[in-house]
């Protein structure tokens, strides 16, 4: 009998072009996603006088620099942003790659567009010049983020040199409580294993709480694998995955679907497969989470208070935590629910899919935003689906802004920003210093908690807010 293999080992082995004696492996890349920020990779390719080897496997959608208050490139006021989007169109045309521009009706954040168009499929290898590429692992793919030199390498060769990461399994068993979503699960995991807990690993998320998540929740979990230091995150494909893929634009059809499905069913880790590192998190105990510092590992349940760095025994960690609190303008011991917010952002590749917007709308319905709130769907498809359900109306009736799809206030490079000193409740993935604008103070939360903060003006336990309505 063949030895038991992890899903990651199966995915890895299926993509080996060649392996050197020192273990360095040339991996084949099935799908390459690009965006407007991939321009540095295109420049390198042009400087080298090379072509894209497989334009048919290369897909681009503008997201990072796309202002969310316009519908077309021509309307973009900022010269630099407009030029960057025009550059992506020109590069796409020059190299013959797929391009979902603002006039395509399919544009959006690369990590939202990939899965919803069926570009992302179980069993594939996928890369993108963006650290949140692990998102796609939610479908049972091996997906990871790369730098600009590597982007140029994939353009030219459709391959990448990689050293095999270690395999890690994070098991979350139990039943998630009301008001607890994929975002709270991944924040709880990072809080437990730290922002470097998965460094050098490909992480498989397993357990009943993970299997119980819908595709959107699974993508949220995998998306933030990089925030735990992990190279890739993945979840075994199952009926939820197959139902999600079926019928999507680039997904296989007919006989090809049947053949693909038969293969995809062989992907989950074999019983008894060994992982280099294991962690377990109690799903029953996860509460809605809020970050308090400038690393995603600085996170507590909303029912708790800002921790005291004095309790941290390690002097460097203590200094880092003190620096975080100073930057965040917070005092140890302050209950999280006493912290007032200035802006709320619901969006990003972490939480801008239809299910995220449904959860947020449920909380916003019949209530009133107390602070400026941006709701930014992840793609045109998500936007249309939300509008068909009337979610846009729920948000605008609550006084929230319903905008065009893009990375928006997650990246601080498209005009959607925090002002210095402003504090946000944000469904994005990073609370780094200055991430949402110079001097901006970011608290990461799930979409329900973001909506709860919006209608309360401060962090609030969405479970109390929604009491009786479930």
């Amino acid at each position: 009998m063949a030895p038991a293999k992890t899903m990651f080992a199966k995915l890895w082995d299926a993509h080996v072009v060649l392996e050197r004696d020192d273990g360095q492996t040339l991996l084949y890349i099935d799908r390459h996603l690009c965006h407007d920020g991939s321009r540095q990779g295109f420049s390198k390719l042009k400087d080298q006088g090379r072509k894209v080897r497989r334009p048919d496997l290369t897909f681009a959608s503008p997201d990072h620099y796309r202002p969310t208050d316009v519908k077309s490139v021509a309307e973009i006021q900022d010269d630099k942003m407009r030029a960057i989007l025009e550059e992506l169109s020109a590069n796409a045309e020059r190299f013959g790659i797929h391009h979902f521009g603002l006039d395509s009706g399919m544009d959006g954040i690369a990590h939202v567009v990939g899965p919803e168009l069926g570009i992302t499929l179980p069993g594939i290898s996928l890369v993108c010049g963006d650290s949140h590429t692990a998102t796609h692992g939610a479908l049972g793919a091996f997906a990871f983020g790369i730098g600009a030199s590597e982007v140029a390498h994939v353009f030219a060769t459709q391959t990448l040199w990689q050293k095999k990461p270690k395999a890690m399994r994070v098991t979350v068993d139990g039943k998630l409580g009301f008001g607890v979503s994929g975002k709270d699960v991944i924040l709880a995991i990072i809080g437990q294993i730290s922002a470097a807990g998965a460094t050098g690993h490909a992480v498989e998320y397993a357990g009943s709480a993970i299997r119980g998540l819908d595709m959107e929740g699974r993508m949220t979990v995998c998306n933030m694998t990089i925030e735990a230091g992990g190279r890739a995150g993945m979840i075994a494909p199952d009926e939820t995955t197959f139902d999600y893929c079926n019928g999507r634009m680039f997904a296989p059809k007919g006989e090809k679907w049947d053949k693909a499905l038969a293969y995809w069913q062989t992907l989950p880790s074999d019983d008894g497969a060994e992982f280099d590192t294991e962690a377990t998190v109690d799903g029953n105990a996860i509460a809605p989470m809020v970050t308090w510092g400038t690393s995603p590992e600085n996170v507590v349940p909303v029912t708790e208070a800002v921790p005291d760095p004095a309790n941290e025994p390690d002097p460097v960690r203590r200094k880092t935590q003190e620096g975080s609190l100073d930057y965040m303008g917070l005092k140890p011991g302050t209950p999280m629910t006493d912290i007032a917010v200035d802006k709320v952002f619901i969006g990003s590749c972490t939480n801008a899919r239809i299910e995220d917007l449904r959860i947020a709308a449920k909380v916003a319905k019949g209530r009133r935003a107390q602070v400026r709130t941006l709701v930014v769907p992840g793609s045109q498809q998500v936007k249309r689906a939300a509008e068909a359900e009337g979610l846009d109306k729920v948000f605008t009736d609550a006084g929230m802004e319903w905008r065009e799809p893009g990375c928006s206030m997650c990246v601080g490079m498209n005009g959607d920003l925090l002002e210095p000193g402003e504090r946000s409740a944000s469904t994005s993935n990073r609370n780094f210093m200055g991430r949402q604008g110079e001097g901006g103070r970011t608290h990461l939360v799930g979409p329900a908690m973001a909506a709860a903060a919006s209608v309360s003006g401060h962090f609030a336990d969405v479970r109390q807010l929604m009491e009786g309505s479930n």
Binding site: R39, Q40, D56, I146, S149, Q158, W161, G229, R430, R435
Partner: protein, 203 residues
């Protein structure tokens, strides 16, 4: 890409865990193309006070750490965003090596793809190096890639490992793409096999 054999330079301690690439180079500078250069932009925001003045307490602003060529950091250096601009910013400001207990995986590769040597040493050794650098500002460290050792200010040598593949490339200053393109027959053979076994991936 410049070859890297041995690098001796003044080293600075960075006493924080999780130094993310947003700190190394903030988002507003990412639209700069490579040839514009990133001089003067290293840690652009975190080295300044809220009113935009240089923070005299930030280590790289101190006179005795001028011309620093090596950083000694804590765990998870370069975590976060995949922006290769972070490696460009380090190189353009004279930093050719960072020593830390662990690195963000993407940034680790980005450093090597720009002629830098990221050195992983035990957390205890890194803490000791930082202590030495605080005690003797301006002290030098040597990163010797030919011998795979770091020579500390106190003269002690610490061995480190780096993937052999990248080490070869760094020592010669070679770019990966030309080498990979020499493997064309293997790539073409894989593509033919893939098309046969997983035809649903192709139109």
């Amino acid at each position: 890409m410049d070859a890297f054999t041995k690098w001796t330079a003044k080293a600075a301690p960075i006493d924080a865990a999780n130094v993310d690439t947003d700190q190394i180079i903030p988002a507003p500078f990412l639209s700069r193309i490579r040839t514009e250069g990133y001089e003067g932009l290293l840690f652009y925001r975190v080295r300044r006070t809220a009113d935009g003045e240089m923070d005299p307490d930030f280590i790289l602003n101190r006179d005795d750490f001028k011309d620093t060529g090596i950083l000694v950091a804590d765990r998870n250096f370069g975590c976060g965003s995949s922006r290769e601009n972070a490696a460009w910013t380090l190189v353009d400001n004279g930093i050719r090596s960072v020593i830390a207990p662990s690195f963000g995986d993407i940034h680790y590769n980005n450093e090597m793809n720009n002629g830098m040597v990221p050195v992983m040493l035990d957390a205890g050794i890194c803490a000791d190096l930082r202590r030495q650098l605080h005690a003797n500002p301006g002290a030098e460290i040597t990163v010797d890639l030919e011998r795979n050792v770091v020579v500390a200010p106190d003269g002690k040598e610490h061995a480190f490992t780096i993937p052999a593949f990248n080490r070869e490339r760094l020592l010669k200053g070679l770019d990966d793409v030309s080498f990979t393109l020499e493997q064309e027959s293997d790539i073409a053979a894989y593509e033919a096999k893939r098309r046969d076994e997983a035809d649903w991936l192709f139109e």
